[in-house]
């Protein structure tokens, strides 16, 4: 458990969080390498199935990072994403995985520091929660086959 390094998938909007990640890089800010960024044209593109499949394949946590309220490049993609996230949280609670493994964050393209801080905070939160229970079962299944 003490060696647990969480795998985190972050769906980042091209117009804000992805650029903020770039900004964090330019500012030489450190953030955990656990976070694997997937660039999306808008968080409105992120569907429940993307989040569910990431967790099913063994991610320990997933977050969606979109534009600040009222600032979505496509008007309301971020609010749609927030509603989908609420749906997924309920689904994860229902199956006993726990909705707290997924989260939505808002930031602008200029918020490099916020990006780095969010990545660190979320990584720590998932580290505290421990590994995705599915991953443990996946590992056991692989060991049984191997």
């Amino acid at each position: 458990m003490e060696n647990f390094e969480p795998v985190i998938v972050a769906y980042c909007c091209h117009y804000c969080a992805y650029t903020a990640a770039d900004m964090a890089g330019s500012m030489r800010l450190r953030y955990p390498a656990n976070v694997k960024i997937i660039r999306v044209p808008c968080t409105g593109k992120v569907d429940a199935i993307h989040i569910m499949k990431a967790l099913e394949k063994g991610a320990d946590g997933v977050y969606v990072a979109g534009c600040l309220e009222g600032d979505c490049h496509f008007k309301n993609g971020n609010t749609r994403a927030a509603r989908r996230l609420a749906y997924v949280k309920k689904l994860l609670d229902d199956i006993g995985i726990g909705g707290e493994r997924v989260e939505m964050f808002l930031m602008s393209a200029g918020m490099g520091e916020r990006f780095a801080q969010t990545a660190s905070d979320f990584t720590e939160k998932i580290r505290t929660l421990g590994p995705n229970p599915v991953k443990a079962a996946l590992g056991e299944a692989k060991r049984a086959v191997g």
Binding site: D47, A48, I49, M52, K53, L55, E56, L91, D94, I95, G96, I97, P133, V134, A137, L138, E140, A141
Partner: protein, 222 residues
């Protein structure tokens, strides 16, 4: 379209407990449009069930398939090659599809993943509302295109009742009074005289009154 909603996961998990190899079958028609049982919903439910049972230490083997329609025998044949490799089918079609799967594949248990709701239309993204009860004798021509059978809580043919207040129904203020809608529409059409015509007592036999119904088209029948 026929509308439906996914059953609570708890119920689905319970009915799948005795089985290990599951065929999760979606339908590309109505339930895809109402976002209840199309390819995407099959993927989401498959992930959810997979994760739950994996966590419980009893991993399932789920095959995903989405048919063009589950209510037509031709399309059901696509399931045939899978049937000897699964212990149960979880169908994400409406009740018609589930029954057709059960009728075609008698040896394999079939479970419904959805609760089929009503024949309805999309009012706005994410919202569907009842529009037709299949009464078998349509009166929409006399009622300005608003159905008093499906949209009036009391199915009144010559409404409104005394419970209509400010255009809303006494059953629930979120429900529009169908007869208010009918009146407004007839006024817009300049056909208020239709409102004066009494609709006769309805013969419910073409509806469900005479038991389960069938349509037979001799010209098409084989």
């Amino acid at each position: 379209m026929i509308t439906a909603e996914r059953k609570p996961l708890e119920e689905l998990i319970e009915c799948l407990k005795p089985y290990r190899r599951i065929l999760l079958a979606g339908c590309n028609e109505c339930v895809t449009v109402c976002a209840a049982g199309g390819r995407k919903e099959v993927g989401i439910l498959s992930s959810a069930l997979n994760m739950h049972f994996m966590k419980e230490g009893k991993p399932l083997e789920i095959k995903e398939i989405t048919l063009e329609r589950q209510c037509d025998p031709e399309y059901l044949e696509q399931l045939a090659p899978q049937m000897d490799q699964v212990d149960a089918v979880l169908s994400m079609a409406c009740g018609c599809g589930v029954q057709e799967v059960a009728r075609r594949f008698k040896e394999t248990p079939v479970f419904p993943a959805l609760n089929t709701k009503f024949m309805g239309a999309s009012e706005r993204p994410g919202m569907w509302a009842e529009r037709c009860q299949g009464c078998g004798d349509c009166v929409l021509g006399s009622t300005g295109g608003v159905c008093p059978i499906s949209r009036c809580s009391k199915q009144l043919l010559n409404g409104p009742c005394g419970g209509s207040t400010l255009g809303k129904c006494e059953v629930n203020p979120d429900i529009d009074c169908a007869w208010q809608l009918i009146w407004d529409r007839l006024k817009a059409l300049g056909k208020t005289e239709l409102y004066e015509e009494n609709l006769p007592a309805k013969d419910w036999r073409p509806g469900r009154g005479a038991g389960p119904r069938k349509i037979l088209r001799e010209d098409l029948a084989s």
